[in-house]
Symmetry: C2
C-alpha cells in the first residue's frame, strides 16, 4: 500500500508512523505493532500509532527519524508493508533464562536493533538480560564482531593509537589533553568518544562546547589527515550503530552491563582500525568498579583484544575522587584549557593523569623517554597548539566565552575537616542540575577530594540554566551525602 | 505553562505529548523526557515528542491516552509541569542486581507504573528484573498488596467464589462453562478475566465475541446482582491497573515471570473480595509449567492466600495437550456453546474438565454431592440458561453468526500414527494467524491429542481474516513441529 507523506518535523526519539485508523484497519495492523516503510530499495521499520483526525486515509505522518533515514520530502509516497515479529524476541528470552547465545543468535539481535526491528522496551529486555544474566567471553567476542559488522569502518593504516576510559569518574576529562600530546608527537589518533551514559558529561559533550563533533567518515578522515587526530562523537559516524541504540536505552536506568561495555569499547576500536589501545580503568569505592572487578575487566579486555589482534594495555588508576575542578561540559572545558595553557591555577591532578596516560601510549608504541617527551610537549605549548588545530579543523570557535549556568548556589562547609566526595553522587548531582544536555550546568569544586576545609569555606558551586533544576539539585544535595567532611 | 489542546484522535499506546520545538526549548525539556500534564486537580505523566510543523508554540498535541484520562475537549487548556526522574529507577536497578526490595520500594515502583511515571522500556527493565532475578514470597506478598492498593475494589459480601487458570493451554476455555454452572447453583461469581498474554485467546477475548466485556464497577455490580455472575474483562475495571500495564509490556516478549503471575492473580481476587478461589494449574511438557514447578506454584499460592485470609484450592491438571476443538476467540466460543447446549459433537474433554472444576468449587464452599450437582445443572440446560442470562446482561447478541476467518488452509496427515501437539507451538501458530486481535483467526483441531490418524486425514484447519497472515501461519507451520505423528 502506498501512502502520501505528511510532515510536521516531529521528533519522537524513534521511528513511528501514524496511520489513519481506517487504513490501519484495512492493513490489519494495530497500535504498537510494526510495519516496514519503504522508499524504493531503502526500508525502515516503524512502530504504528493511529489517528482519525488531521490526516486522510491515504496519508501518513512519519517521525523525523523515518523522514531522515529514507530522505523523504513532503508529498513523497512511501510503501507500507507488514512485517512479522522479529526473531530476536525468542533469543532475548533465552538470555533472560540464563541461556548461552551462539554467534548466529547474537548477530540476529544486533541486526534487529540496527534495523529498528526492536522497540525500546525490547532492547531494554536485552540490556537487562545481559546485565543480570551475564555473557561469556565468547559471547562478548561474538557481540563485538556483530557490532563491527553492522557498522561502518575507518581506513587508517599502520600505527593507529587510541585511548579509552571506562568512565564513571566525575571530571576525568583527560582525553582532549592526551590526544593533543600524542598527535603533537606525530601519532595518528582518530579519537571518537561517546556522550555521557552515567556521568555528568562524555568527551563528546565537552568538546561540543567549542567545536562540532558530528562528522561523516569522509570529513573525519580529512580532519585526521590534516591534524593527525580528531575529537569526534562516535555516534554520528555509524561505526557501531547497534551500540548507539543500546546506549540510548541503558541511559534510562543508568545501566552499563559489563559485556556490553567490553563489546562497545572494543567494537569501536576495531572499526577505527586501531593498532595500539590504552584503556584507563579507574577503580575504587564509588567508582564504576572496585579493584577486583578492575582486574577482571583488564583480563577480559586483553583476551578480546588478543582475539582481534590489537595491542592493548589496561591501566588501573585511582578512581576514588573526581579529577579536575569542573564537572559538566563547559566547566570541564575550562579545566582542559587551563592545563593545555599551563595556567597557574590549573588542576594539577588532571594534568598529572593526562601525562601518565600519554606516557603509557608512548611506551605502547615503543617511544623512548616517554615521560619526558610527554611533559615537554605539554609545557612547551605544542599540545595547546595541536588542540587548537584540531578544534579549528572541527569548525570550532575559540573566541566563545565559556560561561557556566546563570542560576547557581554555593555549598559551604558546616564544619572543619577533610573532604570526601562520593563519586556517583557527584555525577548524579551534576545530572540533576541538567548535565549533560544543559552544557553550562555542572559543579565547580573549590575543594578537591582529601583536601582540608575550614567551617564556612566554599566546597562547591552548583550551576544550571534552569531555576527548576537548581531547586531539584539543592534538594538532591540535601537528601544525599554527596560530600562528607571527615 | 498553559497550552491549548490540539486533537487528532491519536492512539499511541501510551501517554505522549508533542510540544512545539521552541516551547520544549523554553521549558528546557527534551525528547523522551517526561512532563506532568494537568487539568485542574487531575494530572498524568506524558513522554515528550517535539514538532515544528502543524502546531503553534502555545499548542500541544496529546495522544488519546492523555485526552481520555484528563477528559479533555478540543481547545481546552492544559498545564505543563516539569517532573523529575522517578525514584523507581534506582529501585529497579537494585532488583536487576538481585537485591531484595522492601515493601516501601515495591510500592514506589507500582505507584510509578500506575501514574505512568515509567516508560515502557523502564517497565520492561522491571519485568525482566523480576523474571531473571526472582522475588521472595514476602516481596510477592508486598507486590500483591501494592497492586491492590493502587486499584479499585468490588464490594460483594459473604461467600464470593472465583476460579483461575494460570493459562498457557491452548483451547482450555472452561471459565464460561464453570461460571454458568456455579451461578446456576446460586453462588456469587463476579468473574473477571484477562486477555491473552502468551496464548491464542484469554477468556475476555472469547466472551467478547458475543457480548461486551468492558464495564464500570457500577455496571458490573448490577450484572452480578441480576445474574449472580459475570464474565468481564478485568482491565477496564481498574482493579489492578499496575498489572494491566505490566502485562502490556510482558506481551512484547511473551514473558510471564512467576512472582508477577502470583501477584497478578491474587491481587485481582483480593480486589474482587473473593472468599473461595479454585486455581487450575495445567502442567506437563510444553505447558506453562512442569510438575515440579506446578507443585511449587501451588505452595506459593497457598502461602499468599493464607496471608490474605482467602480459602484457596490449587488443582494440578493435565496440561500436555490442547483442550476442546477450537483455538482462537470465535472457534473457542463455538466449543463453549456446544458443551452448554449439550450438542452431540461437543468436545468431551472440555466438558469433563469444566465439570471437575465446578465440582471442586462446590467442594470448597461445602456443597454436598458436588459432582452430581454439577452434572445435573449442565445436562438439564440450566447452565446454558444462566450463560444466556449473563450474556444478555452484558449487552450480548445470540443471533450473531460465529464464522471463522475467510482465509483458510487444511493441514493433512502425511503418514498414519498418533497425534502429539506441541502446546506452545499450537498457541504460536494461532497467534501467527492473528489471534487474539483477529477474533475469527485460529485453529480447528479435527484430531485431538493422542488420537489416531490415517495418512491423508485432516489434522487441523487454520483460519484467518488476512491473506498475509495465512501465508505467515503456513510458513510457521512448516518451520516448526506444531504437531508430531508418532
Amino acid at each position: 500500500m502506498f501512502l502520501k507523506v505528511r510532515e510536521m518535523q516531529w521528533l519522537a526519539g524513534r521511528p513511528i508512523a501514524i496511520l489513519h485508523a481506517k487504513t490501519a484497519e484495512r492493513l490489519n495492523v494495530h497500535v504498537d505493532e510494526r510495519v516496514q516503510v519503504r522508499k524504493k530499495q531503502r526500508g525502515i521499520i516503524a512502530v504504528i500509532d493511529t489517528a482519525s483526525g488531521l490526516l486522510g486515509e491515504n496519508e501518513i505522518f512519519l517521525s523525523q527519524e523515518v523522514i531522515s533515514y529514507l530522505n523523504l520530502k513532503k508529498n513523497d509516497f512511501v510503501e507500507i508493508e507488514l512485517t512479522s515479529k522479529p526473531r530476536s524476541v525468542d533469543i532475548i528470552k533465552k538470555k533472560l533464562n540464563f541461556g548461552i547465545l551462539n554467534k548466529e543468535e547474537i548477530k540476529i539481535v544486533i541486526k534487529d536493533i540496527v534495523s529498528n526491528a526492536l522497540t525500546e522496551a525490547e532492547i531494554a529486555y536485552f540490556v537487562s538480560a545481559v546485565y543480570s544474566c551475564g555473557m561469556s567471553i565468547q559471547e562478548t567476542i561474538d557481540m563485538t564482531e556483530s557490532i563491527v559488522e553492522t557498522g561502518r569502518k575507518l581506513n587508517f593504516k599502520g600505527v593507529v593509537v587510541d585511548k579509552h576510559s571506562i568512565g564513571g569518574l566525575a571530571g576525568n576529562r583527560t582525553t582532549p589533553i592526551v590526544v593533543s600530546i600524542c598527535a603533537a608527537a606525530g601519532l595518528t589518533m582518530p579519537k571518537t568518544s561517546s556522550r555521557a551514559i552515567t556521568t555528568a558529561a562524555g568527551t563528546a559533550d565537552v568538546v561540543e562546547v567549542l567545536a562540532d563533533v558530528e562528522f561523516s567518515i569522509k570529513e573525519l578522515q580529512e580532519i585526521v589527515k590534516a591534524a593527525g587526530a580528531c575529537l569526534a562523537w562516535g555516534g554520528s559516524l555509524g561505526l557501531a550503530p547497534a551500540d548507539d541504540k543500546i546506549i540510548q536505552v541503558e541511559r534510562l536506568l543508568h545501566l552499563d552491563p559489563e559485556p556490553q561495555l567490553l563489546a562497545s569499547i572494543m567494537a569501536k576500536k576495531i572499526s577505527a582500525n586501531s593498532s595500539h589501545v590504552l584503556i584507563d580503568i579507574p577503580y575504587g569505592e564509588n567508582a564504576k568498579v572496585n579493584f577486583q572487578k578492575a582486574e577482571d575487566l583488564k583480563k577480559k579486555f586483553e583476551l578480546i583484544a588478543k582475539h582481534f589482534h590489537i595491542k592493548v594495555k589496561c591501566l588501573l588508576t585511582d578512581g576514588s575522587k573526581p579529577i579536575g575542578r569542573g564537572i559538566g561540559p563547559v566547566l570541564e572545558m575550562r579545566d582542559i584549557l587551563s592545563v593545555l595553557g599551563q595556567e597557574e591555577d590549573r588542576p594539577i591532578d588532571l594534568e598529572e593523569k593526562s601525562l601518565i596516560l600519554a606516557t603509557e601510549i608512548f611506551n605502547l608504541v615503543g617511544k623512548k623517554n616517554s615521560r619526558m617527551l610527554a611533559e615537554k610537549i605539554l609545557k612547551s605549548g605544542k599540545a595547546l597548539e595541536k588542540f587548537k588545530e584540531i578544534i579549528i579543523m572541527q569548525k570550532g570557535n575559540f573566541s566563545k566565552k565559556l560561561i557556566p549556568g546563570r542560576n547557581k548556589t554555593v555549598i559551604k562547609a558546616d564544619k572543619a575537616g577533610e573532604i570526601a566526595y562520593n563519586n556517583k553522587k557527584v555525577n548524579l548531582l551534576a545530572r540533576t542540575a541538567g548535565c549533560p544536555v544543559d552544557k553550562s550546568a555542572g559543579l565547580y569544586l573549590h575543594k578537591s577530594g582529601n583536601e582540608k576545609v575550614e567551617k564556612g569555606e566554599k566546597i562547591m558551586t552548583i550551576y544550571t540554566e534552569s531555576a527548576y533544576r537548581l531547586k531539584e539539585a539543592i534538594n538532591f544535595y540535601r537528601k544525599n551525602e554527596v560530600v562528607k567532611i571527615l
